[in-house]
């Protein structure tokens, strides 16, 4: 049975510019790619696919994920990702690909060990507040991701680092982390907390007395003492933190960084994508474009949703085996066309609101990506190779 493959219609041209992914990866000036977007849109897969393609084009690449669900590990067929970049086996060509998953507590510990005297480091590492802060409370990972990104970039072992950010709005914490850290460190609150540990009592003005009184009442004296001990011990490190945080923030704004916003063609994900695009523009962060994953399409043979539905109903009236099969196939087509129609609408709305943002649509694959071949396929789709 010979049959001609129908033309697949994912229209990447009519909606403004297409993201030139190949040029982005080939440009040696691109040293960092940050993928952001809401959860469940295939961000981890996109990051891994970009990293693999760049590596197979000859670049020395590291892909960094801070997602706790170990999805990168799943999609790359790796069983163990820890705080050390590990080479990914099976990469073809002259380049190389390492992958690492951020271990929050390990990164935090490393910073302490690197920047504090052994004695002070010990004191910090054993403080109950530190243990909770570094290992179990949410929100710390964004800071640590920035720390690790800055570190990897400074070491210059890789010429491209691809970063996969945590899902949802917390990805914005990722952007905010350096700034927030800086403002905290300059803030009065820190000075206040440090005071009992090192300051004379005369500084305790009436306002401050009110505040520490309130904190004691709410938190309990032991809690506050632990916190103060922790902050005091940490004091020496903070200067370094601030400097590095500021450096990382400017690194994100620099020409060598490119942001890729990832979405799926659904209302919630596209809304988040708009939010990211606007936010990045507001922070003067360089945006490479929008990747819309899992776009559905079907053969372009002139059959419409309504046409397929009507014909399907008509064929069901006959008691004929082939007509029944044709009716089922047309029902499948009608369903697919309805889906792609809705998705098309989402993409057009985005393009209308953000005409200057280059976009690339990646067709939905039948199955989840599990291995390098799957990532290569995604890579091909990203650059638009047939």
């Amino acid at each position: 049975m010979s049959r001609e493959r129908p033309r697949v219609v994912i229209d990447n041209s009519s909606r403004g510019d297409r993201v030139d992914v190949e040029a982005l990866l080939a440009d040696r000036g691109t040293e960092i790619i940050v993928c952001c977007g809401s959860g469940g849109v295939g961000k981890t897969t996109t990051s891994a696919a970009l990293a693999l393609r760049a590596a197979e084009q000859g670049r020395t690449v590291c892909v960094l994920t801070i997602d706790p669900a170990r999805r990168l590990a799943q999609s790359m067929g790796l069983t163990e990702l820890d705080n050390t970049p590990r080479p990914v086996a099976g990469v073809e060509g002259a380049g190389s690909l390492d992958a690492m998953m951020l271990d929050m507590k390990r990164t935090f510990d490393e910073v302490v060990e690197r920047h504090a005297s052994p004695e002070k480091a010990q004191q910090i590492l054993q403080n109950p507040f530190y243990i909770a802060l570094s290992s179990s409370f949410a929100g710390t990972q964004e800071y640590m991701a920035m720390e690790k990104l800055g570190q990897l970039h400074a070491e210059k072992q890789y010429d491209l680092i691809v970063v996969d950010t945590p899902p949802s709005r917390s990805a914005l914490d990722f952007l905010d982390a350096p700034e927030r850290l800086s403002s905290l460190l300059d803030g009065r609150f820190l000075k206040l907390l440090l005071m009992p540990a090192k300051g004379p009592a005369r500084l305790l003005s009436a306002g401050l007395g009110l505040v520490t009184g309130a904190l004691n009442k709410v938190l309990g004296a032991q809690f506050l003492t632990d916190l103060q001990t922790f902050i005091a011990a940490f004091d020496t490190l903070f200067g370094g933190f601030r400097q590095r945080a500021e450096a990382t923030f400017s690194l994100l704004q620099a020409d060598e960084t490119k942001f890729v916003v990832v979405a799926a063609p659904e209302p919630a994900a596209m809304r988040e994508a708009s939010y990211f695009v606007e936010r990045l523009a507001g922070e003067r962060m360089p945006l490479a474009g929008l990747v819309v994953n899992r776009v559905h399409s079907d053969a372009d043979d002139g059959i419409t949703t309504a046409g397929a539905e009507a014909a399907s109903a008509q064929l069901r009236q006959r008691s004929d085996a082939d007509a029944d099969i044709a009716a089922d196939l047309l029902a499948v087509r009608a369903d697919r066309l309805a889906v792609s129609g809705r998705e098309d609408h989402q993409r057009r709305s985005f393009a209308t609101a953000h005409p200057s943002v280059p976009t690339v649509a990646v067709p939905a694959l039948a199955a989840d990506v599990h291995d390098l071949d799957g990532l290569r396929q995604i890579g091909d789709l990203l650059v638009g190779t047939p």
């Binding site: 909770a132 929100g139 899902p167 009065r188 309130a214 309990g220 004296a221 002139g302």
Partner: protein, 311 residues
């Protein structure tokens, strides 16, 4: 209600709230991620930090909605429990409110769960509970256990004092028989894997797991005879072409339609596999259809009807 991003967690949470709001019951639906997902779902302006009636239940109950803002929750908390009117303002001036709600890790989650705790225990002037049920559109599956468990971390950290007592009471409520953590998923591999992992994490922390809600179920479009014919390669493109021609469609579309049918079969098989994984999870499963018209109020009522089993 938790679930991986993109599975329709907010929609299912809203439908559950409506389902629980039958027969004069009052239900609070709250969101904690600052996304204003509830407002978008009901097509109303962004929700303030105040409980507003947003819908009525199928038999005359009421659904109230609240977007919990950690900063407002903290000030309210300080005022309510410590009468810290003036000191609360001083805390704000010193950047402490900002610190606590945005920078200090975990505090945000403590405030968000704390507000839910407050709403769930609140009583009206007749000493009846203000709400018969509280539904939280919670953080995604990957973060849910840590989120709900944050007070247990805190209770371990604060050795004495009101914070410790408060944190312990919240954990008692989170682990109570009257609490259920439902997980929303779709029949795809990664969301299903995360759901299974999430159930294990929640169980380990003694958080009560409820139903697995499989959302966005596609209608089965391929009949058994068609499936058999496609699988055995017995579908004749020429005969299908003739059938198409007889209803005014181009006969040469047959090959593309057969390809589409094969792809649909493949998708159904993958879904069957994922369904089996969920059935093995040991949790009761409830399925919700993908509604072709998108989600409007009518659709929410329809989904609410199917969620009655979760009551």
């Amino acid at each position: 209600m938790t679930g991986k991003g993109g599975t329709g967690k907010t929609t299912v949470a809203a439908a559950l709230a409506m389902s629980l709001a039958g027969r004069g019951r009052r239900v609070l639906l709250c969101e904690v991620e600052g996304r204003q997902g509830i407002a978008q779902l009901f097509d109303v302006p962004p929700l303030p930090y105040a409980e507003r009636k947003i819908a009525v239940g199928p038999n005359g109950g009421e659904v109230f909605a609240l977007a919990i803002d950690p900063e407002a929750a903290l000030l309210e908390y300080l005022q309510m429990f410590y009468r810290l009117g003036r000191a609360g303002k001083a805390l704000d001036r010193f950047g402490i409110i900002d610190f606590a709600t945005t920078i200090a890790p975990g505090v945000r989650d403590v405030l968000l769960t704390g507000k839910v705790y407050e709403a769930a225990r609140r009583r009206d002037k007749d000493n009846r509970f203000a709400y018969d049920a509280v539904v939280m559109d919670a953080p995604p599956t990957g973060r849910i256990t840590r989120f709900l468990n944050v007070n247990s971390e805190l209770a371990g950290l604060a050795k004495v004092g009101p914070i410790k007592r408060q944190a312990e009471s919240i954990m008692t409520m989170m682990r109570a028989k009257s609490t259920r953590v439902h997980l929303v998923t779709v029949l795809e591999e990664m969301p299903v894997t995360e759901t299974i992992d999430g159930i294990a994490d929640l169980t380990r922390e003694k958080l009560p797991v409820g139903h697995v809600v499989v959302n966005l179920i596609r209608p089965a479009l391929i009949s058994t005879p068609t499936r058999a014919a496609l699988e055995s390669g017995a579908v004749d493109a020429e005969k299908i072409g003739a059938a198409l021609d007889s209803v005014g469609l181009p006969a040469d579309a047959a090959a593309g339609l057969i390809d589409g049918g094969m792809a649909a079969l493949h998708r159904e098989d993958l879904e069957t596999g994922q369904r089996a994984v969920l059935d093995d999870s040991g949790r009761p499963v409830v399925e919700l259809p993908r509604l072709s018209g998108g989600i409007d109020l009518g659709a929410l009522y329809e989904l609410a009807g199917r969620l009655e089993i979760l009551r």
